[in-house]
Amino acid sequence: MLRIEKLHKYYKTGDAALRGVSLTVCSGEIIGLIGPSGAGKSTLIRCVNRLVEPTSGRIFLGDTEVTSLAGSALRHARRRIAMIFQEYALIERLTVMENVLSGRLGYTGFWSSWFRRFPQTDIRRAFALLQRVDLTEHVDKRADALSGGQRQRVGIARALAQEPELLLIDEPTASLDPKTSRQVMRLLTELCREGHLAAIVNIHDVALAQMFLPRIVGLRAGEIVYDGPADGLSPEVLTTIYGEEDWTQGTAKDEEEDDFDALGAHQPSDLEVAAQYP
Protein backbone atom coordinates (compact mmCIF):
# COMPACT_ATOMS: atom_id res chain seq x y z
CA MET A 1 0.00 0.00 0.00
CA LEU A 2 2.79 2.35 1.04
CA ARG A 3 6.33 1.52 0.01
CA ILE A 4 9.29 3.64 1.02
CA GLU A 5 12.60 2.87 -0.70
CA LYS A 6 16.00 4.07 0.54
CA LEU A 7 14.75 7.44 1.67
CA HIS A 8 17.39 10.04 2.52
CA LYS A 9 16.84 13.52 3.83
CA TYR A 10 19.59 16.04 4.48
CA TYR A 11 18.59 19.48 5.71
CA LYS A 12 20.30 22.57 4.34
CA THR A 13 22.21 22.86 7.60
CA GLY A 14 23.88 19.55 6.69
CA ASP A 15 22.01 17.54 9.33
CA ALA A 16 21.07 14.07 8.16
CA ALA A 17 17.49 13.41 9.26
CA LEU A 18 16.97 10.16 7.37
CA ARG A 19 19.65 7.78 6.12
CA GLY A 20 18.27 5.15 3.79
CA VAL A 21 14.91 4.32 5.35
CA SER A 22 12.98 1.53 3.65
CA LEU A 23 9.56 0.56 4.94
CA THR A 24 6.45 -1.16 3.65
CA VAL A 25 3.00 -0.66 5.14
CA CYS A 26 0.22 -2.99 4.01
CA SER A 27 -3.30 -1.81 3.48
CA GLY A 28 -5.19 -1.70 6.80
CA GLU A 29 -1.99 -2.02 8.81
CA ILE A 30 -1.24 0.32 11.72
CA ILE A 31 2.37 0.82 12.72
CA GLY A 32 3.87 2.72 15.61
CA LEU A 33 7.00 4.73 14.89
CA ILE A 34 9.10 5.22 18.01
CA GLY A 35 12.50 6.72 18.62
CA PRO A 36 14.24 9.51 20.52
CA SER A 37 13.57 13.16 19.72
CA GLY A 38 15.44 14.13 16.57
CA ALA A 39 15.53 10.57 15.23
CA GLY A 40 13.65 11.69 12.11
CA LYS A 41 10.13 10.44 12.91
CA SER A 42 8.41 13.70 11.97
CA THR A 43 10.59 14.12 8.91
CA LEU A 44 9.74 10.60 7.74
CA ILE A 45 5.97 11.03 7.84
CA ARG A 46 6.22 14.51 6.33
CA CYS A 47 8.18 13.10 3.42
CA VAL A 48 5.29 10.75 2.64
CA ASN A 49 2.92 13.61 1.79
CA ARG A 50 5.80 15.81 0.64
CA LEU A 51 5.37 18.54 3.23
CA VAL A 52 9.11 17.91 3.46
CA GLU A 53 11.07 17.23 0.25
CA PRO A 54 13.18 14.09 0.53
CA THR A 55 16.75 14.41 -0.76
CA SER A 56 16.70 11.01 -2.46
CA GLY A 57 14.76 7.76 -2.44
CA ARG A 58 11.30 6.85 -3.66
CA ILE A 59 7.89 6.61 -2.09
CA PHE A 60 5.00 4.66 -3.65
CA LEU A 61 1.40 5.04 -2.58
CA GLY A 62 -0.26 2.09 -4.27
CA ASP A 63 1.00 2.41 -7.85
CA THR A 64 1.64 6.15 -7.66
CA GLU A 65 5.19 7.33 -7.14
CA VAL A 66 4.57 10.24 -4.76
CA THR A 67 8.17 11.44 -4.97
CA SER A 68 7.88 12.22 -8.69
CA LEU A 69 4.67 14.26 -8.51
CA ALA A 70 4.19 18.01 -8.75
CA GLY A 71 1.37 20.52 -8.96
CA SER A 72 -2.16 19.16 -9.15
CA ALA A 73 -1.01 15.53 -9.34
CA LEU A 74 0.71 16.01 -5.98
CA ARG A 75 -2.42 17.61 -4.54
CA HIS A 76 -4.47 14.66 -5.77
CA ALA A 77 -2.08 12.25 -4.06
CA ARG A 78 -2.29 14.29 -0.85
CA ARG A 79 -6.06 13.80 -0.78
CA ARG A 80 -5.42 10.10 -0.23
CA ILE A 81 -3.10 10.76 2.73
CA ALA A 82 -4.56 12.44 5.81
CA MET A 83 -2.52 13.85 8.65
CA ILE A 84 -3.21 14.28 12.36
CA PHE A 85 -0.98 16.58 14.41
CA GLN A 86 0.33 16.78 17.95
CA GLU A 87 -0.85 20.32 18.60
CA TYR A 88 -3.96 19.55 16.55
CA ALA A 89 -3.12 22.25 13.95
CA LEU A 90 -6.74 23.25 13.75
CA ILE A 91 -7.69 26.54 12.18
CA GLU A 92 -8.24 28.23 15.51
CA ARG A 93 -10.58 31.00 14.45
CA LEU A 94 -12.84 28.88 12.27
CA THR A 95 -15.75 26.78 13.48
CA VAL A 96 -15.55 23.06 14.16
CA MET A 97 -17.61 22.43 11.01
CA GLU A 98 -15.31 24.54 8.83
CA ASN A 99 -12.34 22.66 10.25
CA VAL A 100 -13.87 19.29 9.39
CA LEU A 101 -14.92 20.50 5.94
CA SER A 102 -11.38 21.74 5.30
CA GLY A 103 -10.55 18.06 4.91
CA ARG A 104 -12.55 18.25 1.67
CA LEU A 105 -10.57 21.15 0.20
CA GLY A 106 -8.68 18.88 -2.15
CA TYR A 107 -11.99 17.90 -3.77
CA THR A 108 -13.55 21.38 -3.77
CA GLY A 109 -13.08 24.28 -6.16
CA PHE A 110 -11.68 27.55 -4.83
CA TRP A 111 -14.86 29.64 -5.06
CA SER A 112 -17.04 26.93 -3.49
CA SER A 113 -14.64 26.76 -0.55
CA TRP A 114 -14.36 30.57 -0.40
CA PHE A 115 -18.13 30.89 0.04
CA ARG A 116 -18.16 27.74 2.23
CA ARG A 117 -20.58 26.11 -0.21
CA PHE A 118 -19.49 22.52 0.15
CA PRO A 119 -21.45 19.74 -1.60
CA GLN A 120 -24.37 18.35 0.39
CA THR A 121 -22.72 14.91 0.58
CA ASP A 122 -19.63 16.43 2.18
CA ILE A 123 -21.72 18.22 4.78
CA ARG A 124 -23.71 15.10 5.56
CA ARG A 125 -20.49 13.13 5.93
CA ALA A 126 -19.01 15.82 8.16
CA PHE A 127 -22.05 15.65 10.46
CA ALA A 128 -21.75 11.86 10.58
CA LEU A 129 -18.04 12.12 11.49
CA LEU A 130 -18.72 14.69 14.19
CA GLN A 131 -21.30 12.35 15.61
CA ARG A 132 -18.79 9.49 15.48
CA VAL A 133 -16.24 11.51 17.48
CA ASP A 134 -18.98 12.78 19.77
CA LEU A 135 -18.82 16.49 18.98
CA THR A 136 -22.31 17.04 17.54
CA GLU A 137 -23.23 19.81 19.96
CA HIS A 138 -20.04 21.80 19.18
CA VAL A 139 -20.54 22.14 15.40
CA ASP A 140 -20.66 25.94 15.37
CA LYS A 141 -18.15 26.58 18.15
CA ARG A 142 -14.81 28.05 17.27
CA ALA A 143 -11.98 25.53 17.44
CA ASP A 144 -10.11 27.60 20.02
CA ALA A 145 -13.04 27.26 22.44
CA LEU A 146 -12.61 23.49 22.81
CA SER A 147 -10.55 21.43 25.25
CA GLY A 148 -7.47 19.48 24.19
CA GLY A 149 -9.24 16.15 23.78
CA GLN A 150 -12.10 17.73 21.84
CA ARG A 151 -9.65 19.54 19.58
CA GLN A 152 -7.81 16.33 18.82
CA ARG A 153 -11.13 14.72 17.88
CA VAL A 154 -11.84 17.61 15.49
CA GLY A 155 -8.42 16.91 13.98
CA ILE A 156 -9.36 13.26 13.56
CA ALA A 157 -12.70 14.14 11.95
CA ARG A 158 -10.92 16.50 9.55
CA ALA A 159 -8.51 13.75 8.57
CA LEU A 160 -11.30 11.23 8.00
CA ALA A 161 -13.32 13.76 5.98
CA GLN A 162 -10.60 13.35 3.38
CA GLU A 163 -11.65 9.71 2.94
CA PRO A 164 -7.97 8.77 3.00
CA GLU A 165 -6.30 5.43 2.41
CA LEU A 166 -3.42 6.28 4.71
CA LEU A 167 -3.27 8.23 7.97
CA LEU A 168 -0.08 9.94 9.11
CA ILE A 169 -0.39 10.61 12.81
CA ASP A 170 2.23 12.81 14.46
CA GLU A 171 2.39 12.48 18.25
CA PRO A 172 -1.41 12.33 18.70
CA THR A 173 -1.26 12.13 22.48
CA ALA A 174 1.76 14.20 23.47
CA SER A 175 -0.38 17.17 24.52
CA LEU A 176 -3.09 15.14 26.25
CA ASP A 177 -3.55 13.73 29.73
CA PRO A 178 -3.14 9.95 30.21
CA LYS A 179 -6.83 9.12 30.18
CA THR A 180 -7.61 11.25 27.12
CA SER A 181 -4.50 9.80 25.44
CA ARG A 182 -5.85 6.27 25.78
CA GLN A 183 -9.28 7.33 24.58
CA VAL A 184 -7.78 9.03 21.53
CA MET A 185 -5.58 6.01 20.73
CA ARG A 186 -8.55 3.67 21.11
CA LEU A 187 -10.66 5.87 18.84
CA LEU A 188 -7.89 6.03 16.24
CA THR A 189 -7.35 2.28 16.12
CA GLU A 190 -11.11 1.64 15.95
CA LEU A 191 -11.53 4.11 13.11
CA CYS A 192 -8.65 2.56 11.19
CA ARG A 193 -10.20 -0.86 11.59
CA GLU A 194 -13.66 0.37 10.55
CA GLY A 195 -12.37 2.14 7.45
CA HIS A 196 -9.63 -0.43 6.73
CA LEU A 197 -7.08 2.41 6.79
CA ALA A 198 -3.35 2.09 6.98
CA ALA A 199 -1.68 4.35 9.53
CA ILE A 200 1.76 5.41 10.71
CA VAL A 201 1.66 6.71 14.27
CA ASN A 202 4.62 8.68 15.63
CA ILE A 203 4.56 8.18 19.33
CA HIS A 204 6.82 8.90 22.29
CA ASP A 205 4.98 6.84 24.88
CA VAL A 206 6.31 3.30 24.46
CA ALA A 207 3.79 1.76 26.86
CA LEU A 208 0.89 3.35 25.01
CA ALA A 209 2.34 2.25 21.68
CA GLN A 210 2.62 -1.35 22.88
CA MET A 211 -0.93 -1.27 24.18
CA PHE A 212 -2.55 -0.19 20.90
CA LEU A 213 -0.16 -0.80 18.03
CA PRO A 214 0.67 -4.35 16.91
CA ARG A 215 3.72 -3.47 14.82
CA ILE A 216 6.47 -1.15 16.01
CA VAL A 217 9.23 0.46 13.98
CA GLY A 218 12.14 1.93 15.93
CA LEU A 219 14.06 4.81 14.41
CA ARG A 220 17.41 5.99 15.65
CA ALA A 221 19.47 8.77 14.07
CA GLY A 222 17.60 8.43 10.78
CA GLU A 223 17.87 4.66 10.49
CA ILE A 224 15.44 1.86 11.23
CA VAL A 225 16.90 -0.24 14.05
CA TYR A 226 13.83 -2.30 14.91
CA ASP A 227 10.84 -3.52 12.93
CA GLY A 228 8.70 -6.15 14.58
CA PRO A 229 5.83 -6.99 16.90
CA ALA A 230 5.07 -4.77 19.88
CA ASP A 231 5.84 -7.52 22.40
CA GLY A 232 9.32 -7.88 20.94
CA LEU A 233 10.39 -4.59 22.55
CA SER A 234 12.80 -6.09 25.05
CA PRO A 235 15.11 -3.94 27.20
CA GLU A 236 17.91 -4.73 24.72
CA VAL A 237 15.80 -3.46 21.81
CA LEU A 238 14.85 -0.30 23.70
CA THR A 239 18.54 0.28 24.39
CA THR A 240 19.34 0.05 20.66
CA ILE A 241 16.56 2.55 19.93
CA TYR A 242 16.95 5.04 22.75
CA GLY A 243 20.39 4.33 24.23
CA GLU A 244 21.52 3.06 27.60
CA GLU A 245 18.95 3.19 30.42
CA ASP A 246 17.67 0.80 33.09
CA TRP A 247 14.52 -0.33 31.25
CA THR A 248 13.52 -2.90 33.87
CA GLN A 249 12.85 -0.22 36.48
CA GLY A 250 9.76 1.19 34.78
CA THR A 251 7.09 0.12 37.25
CA ALA A 252 3.46 0.91 36.62
CA LYS A 253 3.56 3.58 39.31
CA ASP A 254 6.48 5.41 37.70
CA GLU A 255 4.72 5.46 34.37
CA GLU A 256 1.65 6.96 35.93
CA GLU A 257 3.76 9.74 37.43
CA ASP A 258 5.54 10.35 34.15
CA ASP A 259 2.20 10.64 32.46
CA PHE A 260 1.03 13.21 34.95
CA ASP A 261 4.23 15.20 34.44
CA ALA A 262 3.52 15.17 30.74
CA LEU A 263 0.04 16.51 31.31
CA GLY A 264 0.30 19.30 28.79
CA ALA A 265 0.41 23.00 29.46
CA HIS A 266 -1.61 23.18 26.25
CA GLN A 267 -4.68 21.86 27.91
CA PRO A 268 -6.65 24.75 29.38
CA SER A 269 -8.88 23.79 32.25
CA ASP A 270 -12.57 24.37 31.84
CA LEU A 271 -12.32 27.38 34.12
CA GLU A 272 -9.71 29.05 31.95
CA VAL A 273 -11.71 28.37 28.82
CA ALA A 274 -14.79 29.83 30.46
CA ALA A 275 -12.85 32.94 31.42
CA GLN A 276 -11.61 33.47 27.87
CA TYR A 277 -14.97 32.94 26.24
CA PRO A 278 -17.61 34.25 28.57
Partner: protein, 275 residues
Protein backbone atom coordinates in the same frame (compact mmCIF):
# COMPACT_ATOMS: atom_id res chain seq x y z
CA UNK B 1 18.52 14.50 42.98
CA UNK B 2 22.12 13.67 42.29
CA UNK B 3 24.90 14.31 44.73
CA UNK B 4 26.52 16.76 42.35
CA UNK B 5 23.99 19.51 43.11
CA UNK B 6 24.52 19.21 46.83
CA UNK B 7 28.30 19.45 46.77
CA UNK B 8 28.49 22.59 44.63
CA UNK B 9 30.50 25.31 46.38
CA UNK B 10 29.04 28.84 46.47
CA UNK B 11 29.87 30.67 43.25
CA UNK B 12 32.72 33.12 43.39
CA UNK B 13 30.65 36.22 42.76
CA UNK B 14 29.05 35.84 46.21
CA UNK B 15 32.23 37.19 47.74
CA UNK B 16 32.20 40.31 45.53
CA UNK B 17 28.63 41.52 45.50
CA UNK B 18 26.87 42.18 42.23
CA UNK B 19 25.94 45.01 39.91
CA UNK B 20 23.86 44.94 36.73
CA UNK B 21 26.02 44.50 33.59
CA UNK B 22 26.57 48.06 32.35
CA UNK B 23 25.76 49.33 28.87
CA UNK B 24 29.26 50.79 28.53
CA UNK B 25 31.76 48.98 30.69
CA UNK B 26 34.85 51.31 31.06
CA UNK B 27 34.11 54.07 33.59
CA UNK B 28 35.99 56.80 31.68
CA UNK B 29 33.97 56.03 28.51
CA UNK B 30 30.71 56.24 30.45
CA UNK B 31 31.62 59.68 31.77
CA UNK B 32 32.84 60.84 28.36
CA UNK B 33 29.55 59.91 26.71
CA UNK B 34 27.51 61.59 29.47
CA UNK B 35 29.61 64.78 29.24
CA UNK B 36 29.34 64.80 25.45
CA UNK B 37 25.55 64.60 25.57
CA UNK B 38 25.26 67.41 28.12
CA UNK B 39 27.66 69.63 26.18
CA UNK B 40 25.80 69.07 22.91
CA UNK B 41 22.39 69.80 24.46
CA UNK B 42 23.69 73.00 26.11
CA UNK B 43 25.08 74.30 22.81
CA UNK B 44 21.97 73.20 20.89
CA UNK B 45 19.56 74.99 23.22
CA UNK B 46 21.79 78.08 23.24
CA UNK B 47 21.60 78.23 19.44
CA UNK B 48 17.78 78.33 19.37
CA UNK B 49 17.07 82.00 18.73
CA UNK B 50 14.00 83.15 20.65
CA UNK B 51 12.52 86.44 19.56
CA UNK B 52 10.45 87.52 22.56
CA UNK B 53 8.70 90.33 20.67
CA UNK B 54 7.31 87.80 18.20
CA UNK B 55 6.35 85.44 21.01
CA UNK B 56 4.21 88.15 22.62
CA UNK B 57 2.58 88.97 19.25
CA UNK B 58 1.92 85.27 18.74
CA UNK B 59 0.37 84.92 22.17
CA UNK B 60 -2.01 87.77 21.35
CA UNK B 61 -3.04 85.98 18.12
CA UNK B 62 -3.38 82.71 20.07
CA UNK B 63 -5.80 84.58 22.36
CA UNK B 64 -7.94 85.51 19.35
CA UNK B 65 -7.74 81.93 18.08
CA UNK B 66 -9.00 80.61 21.37
CA UNK B 67 -11.72 83.23 21.45
CA UNK B 68 -12.74 81.97 18.04
CA UNK B 69 -12.86 78.47 19.46
CA UNK B 70 -15.25 79.59 22.13
CA UNK B 71 -17.48 81.16 19.46
CA UNK B 72 -17.20 78.78 16.48
CA UNK B 73 -19.13 79.99 13.48
CA UNK B 74 -20.58 77.15 11.45
CA UNK B 75 -22.88 79.28 9.30
CA UNK B 76 -20.73 81.99 7.69
CA UNK B 77 -18.83 79.59 5.42
CA UNK B 78 -21.15 76.60 5.69
CA UNK B 79 -21.31 75.79 1.96
CA UNK B 80 -17.47 75.83 1.73
CA UNK B 81 -17.19 73.70 4.85
CA UNK B 82 -19.79 71.28 3.58
CA UNK B 83 -18.11 70.90 0.21
CA UNK B 84 -14.66 70.48 1.78
CA UNK B 85 -15.98 67.91 4.21
CA UNK B 86 -17.69 65.87 1.48
CA UNK B 87 -14.47 65.98 -0.56
CA UNK B 88 -12.39 64.88 2.40
CA UNK B 89 -14.69 62.02 3.33
CA UNK B 90 -14.89 60.88 -0.30
CA UNK B 91 -11.11 60.98 -0.55
CA UNK B 92 -10.74 59.05 2.69
CA UNK B 93 -13.16 56.28 1.80
CA UNK B 94 -12.15 55.79 -1.84
CA UNK B 95 -8.42 55.97 -1.05
CA UNK B 96 -8.73 53.49 1.81
CA UNK B 97 -10.72 51.01 -0.30
CA UNK B 98 -8.35 51.29 -3.27
CA UNK B 99 -5.33 51.20 -0.96
CA UNK B 100 -6.50 48.09 0.90
CA UNK B 101 -7.40 46.32 -2.35
CA UNK B 102 -3.84 46.86 -3.56
CA UNK B 103 -2.17 46.36 -0.19
CA UNK B 104 -3.45 42.78 0.16
CA UNK B 105 -1.64 41.38 -2.91
CA UNK B 106 1.49 43.37 -2.09
CA UNK B 107 1.31 42.18 1.52
CA UNK B 108 1.01 38.54 0.43
CA UNK B 109 3.94 39.00 -1.95
CA UNK B 110 6.06 40.62 0.75
CA UNK B 111 5.66 37.77 3.24
CA UNK B 112 8.80 35.65 3.18
CA UNK B 113 6.97 32.47 4.19
CA UNK B 114 4.61 32.64 1.18
CA UNK B 115 6.44 34.33 -1.67
CA UNK B 116 9.52 33.26 -3.66
CA UNK B 117 12.55 35.50 -3.09
CA UNK B 118 12.22 37.51 -6.31
CA UNK B 119 8.57 38.42 -5.66
CA UNK B 120 9.45 39.19 -2.06
CA UNK B 121 12.17 41.58 -3.25
CA UNK B 122 9.86 43.39 -5.67
CA UNK B 123 7.03 43.79 -3.15
CA UNK B 124 9.30 44.93 -0.34
CA UNK B 125 10.84 47.49 -2.74
CA UNK B 126 7.39 48.86 -3.69
CA UNK B 127 6.50 49.11 -0.01
CA UNK B 128 9.76 50.84 0.85
CA UNK B 129 9.26 53.41 -1.93
CA UNK B 130 5.68 54.18 -0.94
CA UNK B 131 6.74 54.60 2.67
CA UNK B 132 9.85 56.65 1.97
CA UNK B 133 8.17 60.00 1.32
CA UNK B 134 5.82 61.85 3.62
CA UNK B 135 2.23 62.31 2.42
CA UNK B 136 2.69 66.06 2.06
CA UNK B 137 5.63 65.66 -0.30
CA UNK B 138 3.78 63.01 -2.30
CA UNK B 139 0.73 65.31 -2.42
CA UNK B 140 2.87 68.17 -3.77
CA UNK B 141 4.09 65.86 -6.55
CA UNK B 142 0.59 64.69 -7.44
CA UNK B 143 -0.79 68.24 -7.37
CA UNK B 144 2.02 69.26 -9.73
CA UNK B 145 1.20 66.31 -12.00
CA UNK B 146 -2.60 66.27 -11.98
CA UNK B 147 -3.52 69.76 -10.81
CA UNK B 148 -5.38 71.00 -7.74
CA UNK B 149 -8.26 69.00 -6.33
CA UNK B 150 -9.24 65.81 -4.59
CA UNK B 151 -7.89 63.46 -7.29
CA UNK B 152 -4.33 64.28 -6.22
CA UNK B 153 -5.39 63.69 -2.63
CA UNK B 154 -6.97 60.35 -3.52
CA UNK B 155 -3.73 59.17 -5.17
CA UNK B 156 -1.63 60.37 -2.24
CA UNK B 157 -3.70 58.59 0.36
CA UNK B 158 -3.98 55.39 -1.71
CA UNK B 159 -0.21 55.23 -2.01
CA UNK B 160 0.31 55.79 1.70
CA UNK B 161 -2.32 53.13 2.50
CA UNK B 162 -0.44 50.61 0.36
CA UNK B 163 2.81 51.38 2.14
CA UNK B 164 1.30 51.25 5.61
CA UNK B 165 -1.01 48.26 5.29
CA UNK B 166 1.03 45.95 3.10
CA UNK B 167 4.08 46.28 5.34
CA UNK B 168 2.17 45.54 8.54
CA UNK B 169 0.12 42.80 6.84
CA UNK B 170 3.28 41.13 5.51
CA UNK B 171 4.93 41.27 8.93
CA UNK B 172 1.82 39.73 10.45
CA UNK B 173 1.69 36.95 7.85
CA UNK B 174 5.31 36.12 8.56
CA UNK B 175 4.36 35.45 12.16
CA UNK B 176 1.37 33.14 11.63
CA UNK B 177 1.30 29.62 13.07
CA UNK B 178 2.91 27.45 10.34
CA UNK B 179 1.23 24.28 11.64
CA UNK B 180 -2.16 25.47 10.38
CA UNK B 181 -0.68 26.09 6.93
CA UNK B 182 0.88 22.63 6.98
CA UNK B 183 -2.43 21.04 7.98
CA UNK B 184 -4.35 22.66 5.11
CA UNK B 185 -1.61 21.86 2.57
CA UNK B 186 -1.74 18.24 3.74
CA UNK B 187 -5.41 17.98 2.74
CA UNK B 188 -4.48 18.54 -0.90
CA UNK B 189 -5.79 22.12 -0.92
CA UNK B 190 -4.60 24.52 -3.62
CA UNK B 191 -2.54 27.65 -2.91
CA UNK B 192 -5.55 30.01 -2.84
CA UNK B 193 -7.41 27.70 -0.47
CA UNK B 194 -4.40 27.61 1.84
CA UNK B 195 -4.40 31.43 1.84
CA UNK B 196 -8.15 31.50 2.56
CA UNK B 197 -8.29 28.91 5.35
CA UNK B 198 -4.88 28.92 6.98
CA UNK B 199 -3.55 32.46 6.40
CA UNK B 200 -6.57 34.77 6.12
CA UNK B 201 -8.25 33.27 9.16
CA UNK B 202 -5.18 34.12 11.20
CA UNK B 203 -4.51 37.65 9.94
CA UNK B 204 -8.00 39.05 9.35
CA UNK B 205 -8.56 40.46 12.85
CA UNK B 206 -5.39 42.49 12.56
CA UNK B 207 -6.12 43.49 8.97
CA UNK B 208 -9.55 44.78 9.99
CA UNK B 209 -8.10 46.66 12.96
CA UNK B 210 -5.37 48.24 10.84
CA UNK B 211 -7.86 49.22 8.13
CA UNK B 212 -10.10 50.95 10.67
CA UNK B 213 -7.05 52.73 12.05
CA UNK B 214 -5.97 53.75 8.56
CA UNK B 215 -9.41 55.25 7.82
CA UNK B 216 -8.84 57.46 10.82
CA UNK B 217 -5.31 58.40 9.72
CA UNK B 218 -6.41 59.01 6.14
CA UNK B 219 -9.14 61.38 7.26
CA UNK B 220 -6.66 63.40 9.30
CA UNK B 221 -4.13 63.33 6.44
CA UNK B 222 -6.83 64.46 4.02
CA UNK B 223 -7.25 67.62 6.07
CA UNK B 224 -3.50 68.26 5.98
CA UNK B 225 -2.79 67.61 2.31
CA UNK B 226 -5.59 70.03 1.44
CA UNK B 227 -3.21 72.76 2.54
CA UNK B 228 -0.85 71.97 -0.36
CA UNK B 229 -3.75 71.97 -2.81
CA UNK B 230 -4.94 68.38 -2.81
CA UNK B 231 -8.55 69.31 -2.07
CA UNK B 232 -10.75 68.54 0.87
CA UNK B 233 -11.42 70.25 4.16
CA UNK B 234 -7.74 71.23 4.50
CA UNK B 235 -8.12 73.66 1.63
CA UNK B 236 -11.14 75.22 3.33
CA UNK B 237 -9.28 75.42 6.65
CA UNK B 238 -6.28 77.02 4.98
CA UNK B 239 -8.47 79.67 3.36
CA UNK B 240 -10.18 80.43 6.65
CA UNK B 241 -6.86 80.88 8.46
CA UNK B 242 -5.43 83.01 5.63
CA UNK B 243 -8.40 85.35 5.98
CA UNK B 244 -8.08 85.43 9.79
CA UNK B 245 -11.61 83.95 10.03
CA UNK B 246 -10.81 82.15 13.24
CA UNK B 247 -14.47 81.44 14.05
CA UNK B 248 -14.89 79.46 10.81
CA UNK B 249 -11.51 77.78 11.33
CA UNK B 250 -12.63 76.77 14.81
CA UNK B 251 -15.84 75.33 13.40
CA UNK B 252 -13.81 73.25 10.91
CA UNK B 253 -11.45 71.99 13.62
CA UNK B 254 -14.37 71.01 15.84
CA UNK B 255 -15.94 69.02 13.00
CA UNK B 256 -12.61 67.26 12.33
CA UNK B 257 -12.26 66.37 16.01
CA UNK B 258 -15.82 65.03 16.12
CA UNK B 259 -15.30 62.86 13.05
CA UNK B 260 -11.97 61.50 14.30
CA UNK B 261 -13.60 60.59 17.61
CA UNK B 262 -16.50 58.92 15.82
CA UNK B 263 -13.97 56.90 13.76
CA UNK B 264 -12.22 55.91 16.98
CA UNK B 265 -15.39 54.54 18.59
CA UNK B 266 -16.49 52.84 15.37
CA UNK B 267 -13.14 51.13 14.90
CA UNK B 268 -13.19 49.92 18.50
CA UNK B 269 -16.62 48.39 18.00
CA UNK B 270 -15.61 46.80 14.68
CA UNK B 271 -12.44 45.31 16.16
CA UNK B 272 -14.40 43.75 18.98
CA UNK B 273 -16.66 41.99 16.46
CA UNK B 274 -13.67 40.52 14.61
CA UNK B 275 -11.53 39.47 17.57
Amino acid sequence: MTTATQSVSPPQSLAHGWHRPRLIEPTWARWAVAFGIVAYLTLAFASVDVNWARVSDGLARAGRLFEGFLTPNFTARWSDIQQGMIESLTMTVTATVAGVALAIPFGLGAARNLAPWWLYGICRAVIAVSRALHEIIVAIFFVAMFGFGPFAGFLTLSLSTIGFLSKLLADDIEEIDPAQVEAIRATGAGFCQVIDFAVASQVIPRLVGLTAYKVDINFRESSVIGIVGAGGIGATLNTALDRYEFESAAAILLIIITIVMACEYASGAIRKRFA
